[in-house]
Symmetry: C2
C-alpha cells in the first residue's frame, strides 16, 4: 500500500489539474441548452477511466448517457464493488453571487471553488485517481470494480433504474460505494447511515385569460398570486410540521439509540446559525437541529414566480403563478403517495376562480442503513487511517434517490463515504471542496478498496 | 359648433395618424432605460400643443418633466378648465402575449391596439384635437384652458403635487377635467363618481447569507419563500376580506342610494367571468361585483419572485423572497396609515430566522364625487349629444391619485369623462381603444368645453 500512497502523493498536482478540466465543463443536466456540455463531460470522463486502466464505455439512455468503467482483475471469486457517482451539476444561478466563475475552478483558502467541486465531480474523480494509483503501481487490488457515472442525478436520475435493471448482471456487486456526501466536520470523517427521499413538484395556478389591471378588476377576480401564497402557506402548521393530511402516516419513529447517537455529536445551534448569518434556527417543534435535518421530513418552496417582478410598481393582477415545492422524505415515505396527498390537500383549499396544475418533477425514496457489518467497518478503518480520527456515523439531509434502488435491484449493501464539508454551498453560489479532503480522501479510498476484500 | 364638428370629421384620419406617432414612443416611466423615450414623448406632446394653438412649455421636475399648455382667449371673467392627463405608460411585459407590437399601433376589429392607446395617450390626445378644432375654426371657445400632461402617473406621480403647489396660481381653475377612465359599456357613456386609492409595497424577506441546499439545510433553517407565502396569505381572511387589523376602520359606508344606483346598472357576473375566461368570480362576501370593484378596498399581490424559477428541478432553499403587494383603497382610507397597519400586521407573524423589509413604492388617496352640480351635468349633456345615449354615473376601481390632490390644492371640482371600454387590457398585453370612441369622444369633448362655460 505504501507504493499506492506514494504514487498518490507524487501526482496530487496533476490530479487537481485534471479535476479542474472536468469542472470547466458546464454539464448542467437541467438545462437543455447545455446538452452538448453534458455529453462532453461524459466523453471526458470515459477517457480518464481508460487512462486510469479501466475498460470504459459510454452507454446511451433516453436522456444523458451513463459512463461505465470496469476492472475485473481480482478474479471471479473476489468481491465486486460498484462505485457510483454523477458528472452532471446543478445550475449555477444566481451568477452575480459567485466570487469566482462557477466553471473556472479557483483555489482560495485551501478550497477548490467551482460548481461540481463537491457535488459530485470532485468526489467522483477521487475514485478514478485512487483506482489509477492501484492499477499504475500493480498493487494486486483484491476487489473487482464496476464504476458508473451518470449525467442525470441533479434532475432525478430518470433513466438510471431502467439502466440498472437492463444491465443488472454486469452491475452485480457486493457493495455499492458512493462518495456524494460529506464529513460531519473538518477533520472528522463520517460514514453515512441515512438519506432523505425527495418529492419535487411544480405547481401552477391559472386565472384569467390575461394579466389584468389591479384597479379595474381587483377585488372581484381571483388572484393566482394570492391563491398560490395561500396554497404554499397551507402546507405548514404553526408548529412547523407539514400540514398535509396523512403526511406523517408512513414516517418511522427512529430508535432511541440512533437519536442518542445523534445527540452525542458535537453541535452548536448558535454556531450553525452564525455560519448562515441567520438570527436563529427554526423548524418542527420537538426535534433538534440534526434530527430536523436527518430524520424528519420537510416541505420547502424552492422557487416562486408570479406577475411583474421588475423595477418599480406595476399595478397588475397576474393571471398565473408558479411555485416549485420540494418535500424531503424519511423512511418509509414514498414520493408517489406524497403526490396523492398533496393533490388531495390542494382540493381542500378555496380554489374558486382558478385552476391548478401539479407536475411531479422529481422523486426518490429515503434510505437508512445499519451501522454494523463489514462494509461499514471497512470504511471506518480506512477513514481513520487516512484522517487520523475515528469516523462518526452521520445522517444525510439530502437525497441520492438511486441508493434504495441500487440496494433493491442489485441485492447489495450501499456504503456512503463522502468528503465535502458543512457550509460547502452545495446547489448554491460558491460551492467548494477542501483541497486537504480531496488529497487525503484519495488515499482513504485506495485503502478502502483493499479493506473491502473482506465483504466477499 | 357645427364648424367644430365639421373640422373634426374632416381631420379624423390625420388625428389617428398623429396619435400613432405618439404611441410609437415607449415612454415607460418605471424603467430608467426608457428615460430618453419618456422625455421624447414630452417633447412630441409639447409640439402638438403648440400646433393646436396653445402656448406650451416643458417644465422640469426631479423626475420626468411636465408639459403645460395654456389658452386664455376666453378672458379673465370666463371659467378656466384644467385638463390633466399623462404621457407615460406601463411596461409592456410579458411581450410574448401581445398579438401586435406594443409600440406599433395596429387597427383590428375597430380598435387601436397599442400600449397607451387607452391609458392614457389616446384619451389625452383627444383633448388636444378637440381644442385644435375649436381654435382652428375660431369658435369663440367660452372657457380658458390649462392643460398639464405628466410623465409619472404610472409610477405614482411623485413630483406632481409639489408642482401643483408651486404653480397653483397658474393652475387656478374651476374644473379639473380628466379623461383617464372608461365608459361603462360599449355605446353607454359615463361620468365618474369615484376612484379607489392605492398603497403599493414591495416586501422583501431575507434569510441566510446565500441560497442553501434544500436537503442539507431544509427543515432547520427558515425558508424566506415559505415565510413570504405565509405573509401574503395572512393578508386575507377566508371570507375574502383583508385581514389586517384596523384596515376597515376608515372605510366609509356608502349611502343606500349609491348602492341602489350601482345595483341598477346592466351587469352579468356570468358574462363578466366569461370575458375573462374564469370559471367564477370571487371576492369579499356580502358585496356584488361592481361594489367589490368600486366601493370596497382590496389587497392583490402584483408579483412574487423567489429562488429558482427556470426549467427543471433545482433543490434550493432560497435566501430571499420578494412580493409586490397593492392595496386599492376607498374613502376615507389613507395610504400612509395602511403602511403602518401593514407593518404592525407583519410584526404579528412568526418571523423567526428571517428579516423583513417593507418599501412603499406608491400611494394615492381615494376620491368620491357628487353626481349633482353643473360640471357633472355639462358632461352628461355633452356625452348624450355625441353618443346618443344618456350617460350613467360610474365608479372607478383604478386610481388616479392626483384627483384628490388637485381638488384640495386648487379648490376646484374634478370631472372624470373617459372613453376606454371594459376589457381594454389596461396595464396588460393587447391594450386597446375603440376607434369609434376616439372619434366620437373628440366631438364630445369639444361640446363639453362649450357647456362648461356655465360653471363659472
Amino acid at each position: 500500500m505504501s507504493d499506492v500512497q506514494g504514487f498518490i502523493d507524487e501526482n496530487l498536482g496533476r490530479f487537481r489539474s485534471e479535476l479542474y478540466d472536468f469542472l470547466r465543463i458546464p454539464s448542467i443536466s437541467a438545462k437543455s441548452e447545455h446538452d452538448d456540455d453534458t455529453r462532453a463531460a461524459a466523453e471526458w470522463f470515459r477517457e480518464k477511466l481508460t487512462s486510469a486502466g479501466l475498460d470504459a464505455e459510454i452507454i446511451e439512455t433516453p436522456g444523458h448517457p451513463i459512463v461505465v468503467g470496469e476492472w475485473r482483475g481480482a478474479g471471479p471469486d473476489a468481491p465486486t464493488v460498484l462505485i457510483y457517482g454523477h458528472y452532471d451539476v446543478q445550475p449555477p444561478e444566481p451568477l452575480s453571487l459567485w466570487d469566482s466563475p462557477p466553471f473556472e475552478a479557483t483555489e482560495r483558502d485551501g478550497r477548490i471553488y467551482a460548481r461540481g467541486s463537491a457535488d459530485d465531480k470532485g468526489q467522483l474523480y477521487m475514485h478514478v485517481k485512487a483506482l489509477e494509483a492501484h492499477l499504475a503501481t500493480g498493487s494486486s487490488l483484491p476487489i473487482n470494480i464496476v464504476m458508473i457515472a451518470e449525467g442525470e442525478e441533479e434532475i432525478g436520475s430518470p433513466n438510471l433504474v431502467p439502466f440498472v435493471v437492463e444491465y443488472s448482471r454486469r452491475l452485480a456487486c457486493d457493495v455499492i460505494l458512493i462518495s456524494d456526501t460529506g464529513m460531519y466536520a473538518e477533520g472528522l470523517p463520517s460514514v453515512g447511515f441515512s438519506l432523505r427521499g425527495l418529492a419535487y413538484f411544480e405547481i401552477h395556478v391559472h386565472g384569467a385569460v390575461s394579466d389584468l389591471h389591479s384597479g379595474e378588476y381587483g377585488g372581484a377576480v381571483a388572484n393566482p398570486g394570492n391563491v398560490l401564497s395561500r396554497l404554499v402557506a397551507s402546507l405548514h402548521a404553526p408548529d412547523g410540521s407539514v400540514a398535509i393530511d396523512g403526511f406523517y402516516d408512513e414516517v418511522l419513529d427512529w430508535d432511541e439509540a440512533t437519536r442518542a447517537q445523534i445527540a452525542s455529536l458535537p453541535h452548536s445551534d448558535q454556531d450553525f446559525a452564525s455560519t448562515l448569518s441567520v438570527g436563529e434556527l427554526t423548524g418542527e417543534q420537538g426535534y433538534g437541529t440534526l434530527e430536523r435535518l436527518w430524520i424528519r421530513p420537510t416541505c420547502d418552496v424552492c422557487g416562486i414566480l408570479c406577475g411583474y417582478t421588475g423595477e418599480g410598481a406595476k399595478t397588475v393582477l397576474p393571471n398565473h403563478a408558479m411555485a416549485k415545492v420540494s418535500f424531503r422524505l424519511v423512511p418509509d415515505q414514498n414520493p408517489g403517495r406524497i403526490k396523492d396527498l398533496l393533490e388531495a390537500h390542494i382540493e381542500t383549499l378555496d380554489l374558486r376562480g382558478v385552476t391548478i396544475e401539479v407536475q411531479e418533477l422529481h422523486g426518490g425514496r429515503p434510505w437508512r442503513a445499519s451501522v454494523e457489518g463489514p462494509a461499514f467497518e471497512a470504511a471506518s478503518e480506512a477513514l481513520e487511517e487516512a484522517f487520523g480520527t475515528r469516523p462518526v456515523p452521520m445522517g444525510g439531509g439530502g437525497s441520492i434517490p438511486i441508493v434504495v434502488e441500487f440496494e433493491e435491484k442489485l441485492d447489495a449493501t450501499a456504503l456512503l463515504v463522502g468528503f465535502s464539508l458543512p457550509g460547502c454551498n452545495l446547489h448554491a453560489p460558491n460551492e467548494w471542496l477542501p483541497i486537504d479532503n480531496f488529497e487525503k480522501g484519495i488515499g482513504a479510498l485506495a485503502l478502502l478498496y483493499e479493506k473491502l476484500a473482506r465483504v466477499g
